[in-house]
């Protein structure tokens, strides 16, 4: 394997950082939709508190869930959209006939998705604190491992979805926005796993994000940290990340065999 060259990674990161502020739809992805989601969920909570007398726990549950789920969605979507952006710009051929390797390309997408994710996360933290007096930092020191697990779960999905797009082209590009949503009910973001039907509970055992959201509720409700759940989530995440990377590399080789990269251009 060719050693990673960070000059090329930096070049690709810079290319997207230059064009990002000029792209209204990408700015909307990062700020507009998360803001609207936060605002609507926040108002629902205010209404519930006023009418039914629910406690602050529900605010934590919904707004905490929303902000943390954004970590998964944004990290996956940014990876997918960065790949698609090169395809839409008909620039993939320029990129892949340069010395950049598929791994350097992938690292660049991870770096960019992390940068944008941090911007979205802190924006949502700021808004939630300002509008609804909610702080995600009430999770304490567990916030960091939880955030890392959720972000890397997004990367695993990103590798998998980019692999699908690499193999099957534009006809599956819709997965870049939609596939992660299929994971939402199994992740038990807004309700406990026990609320799911038995077959869904079985599936959610193999979904790392479900352990994180269960753990988050434990911290908010009982101030108890579930280290076992966190360990299982980390283990599953590592396994899925390795599978995702393998699938992406396999898909790149497949795309070279079928000539799919040429078709993108």
């Amino acid at each position: 394997m060719t050693p990673i060259n960070f000059h090329r990674v930096n070049a690709l990161v810079l290319r997207h950082l230059i064009t990002w502020p000029r792209s209204l739809e990408r700015v909307a992805d990062a700020f507009w939709w998360p803001t609207m989601n936060l605002f609507i969920w926040g108002l629902v909570n205010v209404y519930l508190q006023q009418k039914t007398g629910t406690t602050a726990f529900f605010v934590n549950l919904f707004l905490g869930g929303l902000i943390m789920w954004t970590l998964v969605v944004r990290s996956q979507e940014e990876m997918g959209l960065l790949f698609l952006q090169e395809a839409w710009d008909r620039n993939l051929l320029n990129i892949f006939c340069s010395p950049i390797t598929i791994w350097e390309f992938s690292i660049a997408t991870i770096v960019l998705s992390t940068i944008k994710l941090c911007m979205t996360f802190f924006w949502m933290f700021f808004l939630a604190a300002l509008l609804f007096a909610f702080s995600i930092f009430s999770l304490g020191w567990m916030l960091l491992p939880y955030a890392i697990v959720l972000m890397t779960a997004g990367w695993s999905l990103g590798f998998f979805i980019n692999g699908l797009i690499m193999q099957y082209g534009y006809r599956v590009q819709v997965f870049a926005w939609t596939l992660t949503m299929a994971l939402l009910p199994f992740s038990s973001v807004y309700f406990p796993v026990s609320a799911l039907p038995p077959w869904m509970q079985m599936v959610s055992r193999y979904v790392p994000t479900s352990y994180i959201f269960e753990g988050m509720r434990g911290v908010f409700q009982h101030h108890v940290v579930d280290t076992t759940g966190l360990a299982i989530a980390i283990g599953l995440n590592i396994a899925y990340l390795l599978i995702g990377i393998w699938f992406f590399a396999f898909s790149f080789r497949k795309a070279q065999q079928t000539g799919m990269i040429m078709k993108f251009s």
Partner: protein
């Protein structure tokens, strides 16, 4: 109109006696399912040569070029570039190569200078800012440096593609129809630059074109392909015989269809 030559260094002057194969292809085959796009072709391109890859649509030219860049993997056969196996030294080899096609675009939200600069960084060019300015001057893009790529005409886009293709001072350049969709004035400038690049840097160029006069004017040799096979490898004069290259092309294409 003259092509600007700022940035060319005399130390890179091409020494014509030092000819050795830069590209060696042996028994290269590419199949897509039951369709054979490239069928057991072998050829070499020497250092400092300009070689034209000719043939009707669907002859296998673009697939061959894509295999030379590693965008498409061969079904059989080997590719050696700069005397190294391409498959195992892909990234190392691509550092000294570049590519331009009339059909490839650039990110439309980037400014002209930014696009060249990013590729200067990607190819690890020394003094990337200076090199970017040199390319802007060479390809008469200085006045357009702050224009968004999406606002360029097709002629200016072709020049930007060429500026990107020469930004790393490549030893080998693959040009896929570099002058299609540009007016005669710009096409002439592009040809001037290709000749100048060969003379000054000793750049090896493999190009495809449907402009036979261009091939006759530029190329030292021509590889004529049809149905994925090489029909002939000759100088343009040898290939055309007592006719023009265009007449040869039409005869070959029509023989085939008849």
């Amino acid at each position: 109109m003259e092509v600007a030559t700022k940035g060319f260094k005399t130390s890179y002057l091409y020494i014509s006696s030092m000819k050795q194969p830069i590209v060696s292809i042996h028994n290269l085959t590419k199949t897509f399912g039951l369709f054979t796009a490239v069928n057991d072709i072998s050829f070499s391109v020497n250092e400092g040569e300009i070689v034209g890859l000719l043939g009707p649509n669907g002859a296998g030219k673009t697939t061959t070029i894509a295999m030379l860049m590693g965008i498409i993997s061969p079904t059989h056969g080997s590719i050696r570039i700069f005397n190294k196996d391409f498959h195992s030294h892909r990234s190392e080899i691509l550092k000294d190569m570049n590519y331009s096609s009339a059909y490839v675009k650039a990110p439309w939200r980037m400014k002209v200078w930014e696009h060249i600069y990013i590729f200067a960084l990607m190819y690890e060019v020394k003094n990337p800012k200076q090199k970017t300015e040199e390319m802007l001057t060479t390809f008469h893009l200085t006045k357009l440096r702050d224009i968004l790529v999406g606002d360029l005409s097709s002629g200016n886009m072709a020049r930007l593609n060429l500026a990107k293709a020469f930004v790393n001072q490549p030893k080998l350049v693959l040009l896929d129809e570099p002058t299609s969709s540009v007016d005669p004035d710009i096409a002439d400038r592009v040809r001037q630059f290709i000749r100048l690049s060969k003379k000054t840097y000793g750049t090896t160029i493999l190009l495809t074109s449907h402009n036979m006069a261009e091939i006759e004017e530029l190329c030292d040799r021509v590889i004529f392909m049809n149905h994925g096979k090489i029909i002939a490898i000759e100088t343009p004069k040898e290939l055309a015989g007592d006719k023009t290259l265009e007449e040869f092309f039409i005869r070959e294409a029509r023989n085939d269809t008849n």
